[in-house]
């Protein structure tokens, strides 16, 4: 607990000190980076110490604050530090030369965002939690708006601010009514909406694909890797009753939201051209997978199948940690690519694998892993959720079978689509020949920006091998969250742990074999002089980069297949001649929720507000008249409709 307090203090003070450096950007960056790194390292140690039972759960009262560190908060702190450490390291290089005179402010907001996230996990009283939650939102808003010179950034920041405030608007009544113990299910739904806005449940996810591309890469990494998870933390911390009906409701809601979110998110990820927007949609998908895991967990507990419950919860927790490590690496990689090529449009890149080989390797590893493909850690969480779904299918209870079947189908489809999305990202960005001069001139980033990617990979490998060890905590947490006092340490936990251990061993074997084979190949090739030739030209005499498949072209079959769902807008501009000299095509895919729900919604309210605005004419007479009419209406209403009770 004291370690966490040191972390918070360091983040607070480091953030406060950074802006005082004024124009000395490198000094500000050094202060921010040092304090942030120390804070995160100490915090990571504290959280791990608590999880492994070295330190007991503790409560500290400091003034009016009451901070509690228990295993659930420690678990949700892990992503903050796992995503935070590489992001802090990456930020210095990312900002260098792009934030003259404002670096100190960046570090203030950045460290305070991290601090607020830690605070959210520690707060136990509603007011304190809401203050921490809002601080997290506001600080990260400042970061999203950090590159405010661009109009699109401001637009994105505005949407993010709106989402934050809408979340608070639902959370405050949820806390008030939930705290009073009344309005049980209503408070639950309000809480789900409020936290769902942070998580990015379907319909509520619109801020993610806007804010993540606009924010600086380290910020996207932290927001996507750690912050959106905290929405689930909030949901799990809600004082819901653990009776059968509540667990069922919660389970079904989370499951349905998770299924739609996972499928819709990855589908839209496939269709994106902007690299970070693709990653943001992939976050929606991964949060959907978490929703599926938690939903199955609650459902299993509701129907008395504790094995399913524990397996699904463990899968969700594990996937959360993996997602934090992998997605932050991917966002940081995208940031490196942005700094090298000055664009995020994947159709304007290409050939970066030869120019930025180390960034490419990191991106490749994270992308494979996050697609849920076997050898790496991203597979483990999904594997557990698959196991839980199979168990549910065979549980012999109709409701659970009905829950397990769509989970299996959707998860399989999501896995395939995720592979498509990441193959698209990898091939469009890194493979082939550069499509623009900027991509051709790209250079590998300095070591300071490669180190965080390496650290992210290290975290992923640690997660891969520590997954079996983490199983008992997950089981305990699952039991506590569903109100089941069953001891799992004898039966389920060893079984799951052995599965995970076998997968980890297989991965080790696979990686070792691959490493040895690569080494052998290199040695053999070293004997013959290696020749570097242009990429295979398909038999064309004069190949140019314009003949390459672009990312958009690569996914065109998938996008067309799901056209009813995605509504891609194709714009073709071509001379109407037999041999058109000039032709271009662009495909835009607008967000479905934005297009069908939010745009009409805000359009309607905008028009209504314009009409109401006419009342604000500047004429005193009109104002008084409106007030008089309102008073009279209230008088009559109160008299005829409410007075009858007396």
């Amino acid at each position: 607990m004291n370690l966490i307090l040191i972390t918070s203090t360091l983040l607070l003070l480091g953030g406060l000190a950074a802006p005082f450096c004024g124009k000395r950007d490198s000094l500000a960056a050094t202060i921010g980076m040092t304090s942030g790194l120390f804070a995160c390292a100490i915090g990571l140690a504290g959280a791990l110490a608590l999880l492994f039972g070295v330190l007991p759960p503790a409560t500290v009262r400091a003034g009016c604050l009451s901070l509690t560190l228990d295993s659930l908060s420690a678990l949700f702190q892990l992503p903050v530090f796992v995503a935070g450490i590489p992001a802090i390291l990456h930020a210095k290089g990312y900002l260098a030369g792009h934030a003259e005179g404002r670096t100190g402010w960046f570090w203030l907001f950045f460290l305070w965002t991290l601090g607020a996230m830690v605070w959210v996990t520690l707060a136990r009283t509603p007011v304190e939690f809401l203050v921490a939650w809002e601080m997290m939102g506001m600080m990260s808003f400042a970061l999203v708006a950090f590159e405010y010179h661009e109009k699109s950034t401001l637009h994105a920041a505005w949407i993010y601010l709106l989402a934050c405030h809408a979340g608070a608007a639902f959370l405050i009544p949820a806390f008030i009514f939930g705290g009073c113990g009344i309005w049980g299910m209503g408070a639950l739904i309000a809480g789900l909406i409020g936290f769902g806005l942070k998580i990015g449940f379907p319909l509520l996810h619109v801020w993610l694909p806007e804010a993540h591309p606009a924010a600086p890469a380290p910020v996207s990494a932290v927001m996507s890797g750690a912050m959106i998870n905290l929405g689930f933390y909030g949901i799990l911390q809600m004082p819901y009753a653990t009776d059968e009906t509540t667990l069922q409701t919660l389970g079904w809601i989370l499951l349905v939201l998770g299924l739609t979110g996972a499928f819709g998110g990855i589908l839209f990820a496939v269709a994106q051209r902007n690299l970070k927007r693709l990653l943001a949609y992939s976050s929606v998908e991964n949060m959907g997978i978490l929703g599926i895991g938690f939903g199955l967990g609650f459902l299993g507990a509701a129907y008395g199948k504790h094995v399913i419950s524990v397996t699904a919860f463990a899968g969700a927790f594990l996937h959360m940690l993996n997602h934090a490590a992998l997605k932050s690496s991917l966002f940081l990689g995208a940031g490196s690519v942005l700094r090298s090529t000055s664009t995020l449009n994947m159709d304007r890149m290409g050939g970066l694998a030869k120019r930025m080989p180390k960034t490419f390797l990191s991106f490749l590893f994270s992308a494979i892993s996050l697609s849920g493909l076997p050898p790496f850690n991203g597979f483990l969480g999904e594997l557990l959720i698959y196991i839980a779904a199979f168990l549910a299918l065979n549980a012999g209870i109709t409701a659970l079978t009905g829950a397990g079947l769509p989970v299996l189908l959707i998860l399989a489809m999501v896995g395939g689509l995720a592979a498509v999305a990441y193959v698209k990202a990898l091939s469009a960005v890194f493979l082939g020949e550069p499509r623009t001069q900027a991509a051709a001139d790209a250079e590998e980033r300095p070591f300071s920006m490669l180190l965080p990617l390496l650290i992210g990979a290290v975290f992923s490998f640690i997660l891969l091998f520590s997954a079996p060890v983490l199983m008992p905590f997950f089981a305990d947490l699952a039991g506590a969250l569903t109100g089941q006092a069953v001891d799992f340490s004898e039966s389920v936990v060893p079984a799951l742990a052995s599965i995970l251990a076998r997968v980890a061993l297989f991965s080790l074997f696979f990686s070792a074999t691959a490493g040895i084979l690569l080494r052998l190949r290199q040695r053999n090739l070293a004997k013959n002089a290696e020749k570097i030739k242009p990429t295979w030209d398909c038999g064309y005499a004069e190949p140019t980069a314009r003949m390459e498949y672009t990312g958009t072209a690569f996914v065109q079959p998938v996008v067309d297949f799901f056209a009813n769902f995605l509504h891609p807008v194709k714009k073709v501009r071509m001379d109407r001649k037999l041999f058109p000299a000039h032709a271009e095509i662009s495909v835009e895919t607008e967000d479905a929720a934005d297009r069908t729900v939010w745009k009409p919604f805000f359009h309607f309210f905008g028009r209504a507000a314009d009409k109401i605005h006419r009342l604000q004419s500047g004429y005193l007479h009109l104002y008084v008249l409106v007030m008089v009419l309102a008073l009279l209406a209230m008088l009559i209403w109160g008299f005829y409709f409410e007075g009858g009770a007396e």
Binding site: H613, Q616, S617, G618, Y619, H621, L622, V624, G643
Partner: protein, 237 residues
């Protein structure tokens, strides 16, 4: 005549006069006339508590103080201030009201009818002084609000506010509510300050802009919509 019987008839007469003043206020265009009407209303308001007392025993000092203050302020001082402001701003008529005088009369009559209908249903405390008290006070309140809404000159609006305030006082007196001296004085001070500020403001405004039409003072509003071309600053300068 027995004093009790006299006061029994005197109170309804006072309220009836108050109602008549409301109707007259709706149709008078001359500002001086309006001021006199409001002054007369102030006199009636001052007399109501005294008339309620029945004079069988000598009244409280408080009652006398309130009555005298009411009359002094609402019947003498404030009308005097209003009249002085009017003369210094060189306006003597409300020439173009937003609602015509005939319509105004009809609206005030309608509000009176509404008040009588409404107050019959209103669950009032039993010992109210006169059956006329609540509806007439309500009509006076509505008339005051109507004057504020429908007249352009700042002075007429101040008169409207005074009428509104008279209505509230009449309601309190008619319901035999015991405000206590401090509350009464507070209300009186409020009204006095309003008129004082209005006087200064009108004087300044008329010196700057040569008019005191409050409907043309919307340039300072933050809504600069369709009517940017016809705002007051350009008016007669």
């Amino acid at each position: 005549m027995d004093t009790a019987v006299f006061f029994e008839n005197f109170l309804p007469a006072l309220f009836a006069l108050l109602l008549a003043m409301d109707l007259l206020l709706a149709v008078s265009s001359r500002l001086l006339h309006c001021i006199r009407l409001v002054a007369f209303q102030g006199l009636i308001i001052g007399l109501i508590p005294l008339a309620m007392w029945q004079w069988t025993t000598p009244p409280h000092t408080e009652l006398i103080v309130i009555a005298v203050l009411n009359i002094a302020l609402k019947c003498v001082l404030i009308p005097y201030l209003l009249a002085r402001t009017m003369r210094s701003a060189h306006v003597c008529r409300e020439l173009e009201p937003l609602v015509g005088y005939g319509t105004s009369l009809l609206i005030v009559l309608a509000s009176a009818a509404f008040s009588f209908f409404f107050c019959r249903e209103l669950p009032l405390p039993g010992e109210n002084v006169s059956f006329l008290a609540a509806p007439v006070a309500f009509t006076t309140i509505l008339t005051g609000l109507f004057l504020i809404v429908s007249r352009k000159k700042a002075i007429t609006q101040a008169i409207g506010f005074l009428t509104f305030e008279n209505g509230i006082t009449a309601f309190g007196a008619g319901m035999a509510l015991e405000y206590g001296l401090v509350v009464e004085l507070g209300i009186l001070l409020d009204v006095f300050v309003l008129v004082f500020v209005m006087g200064i403001a009108v004087f300044r405004i008329s010196r700057e802009f040569q008019h005191i039409d409050s409907d043309r003072l919307n340039t300072l509003g933050d809504w600069s919509g369709d009517d940017e071309n016809e705002t007051g600053m350009k008016g007669e300068n």
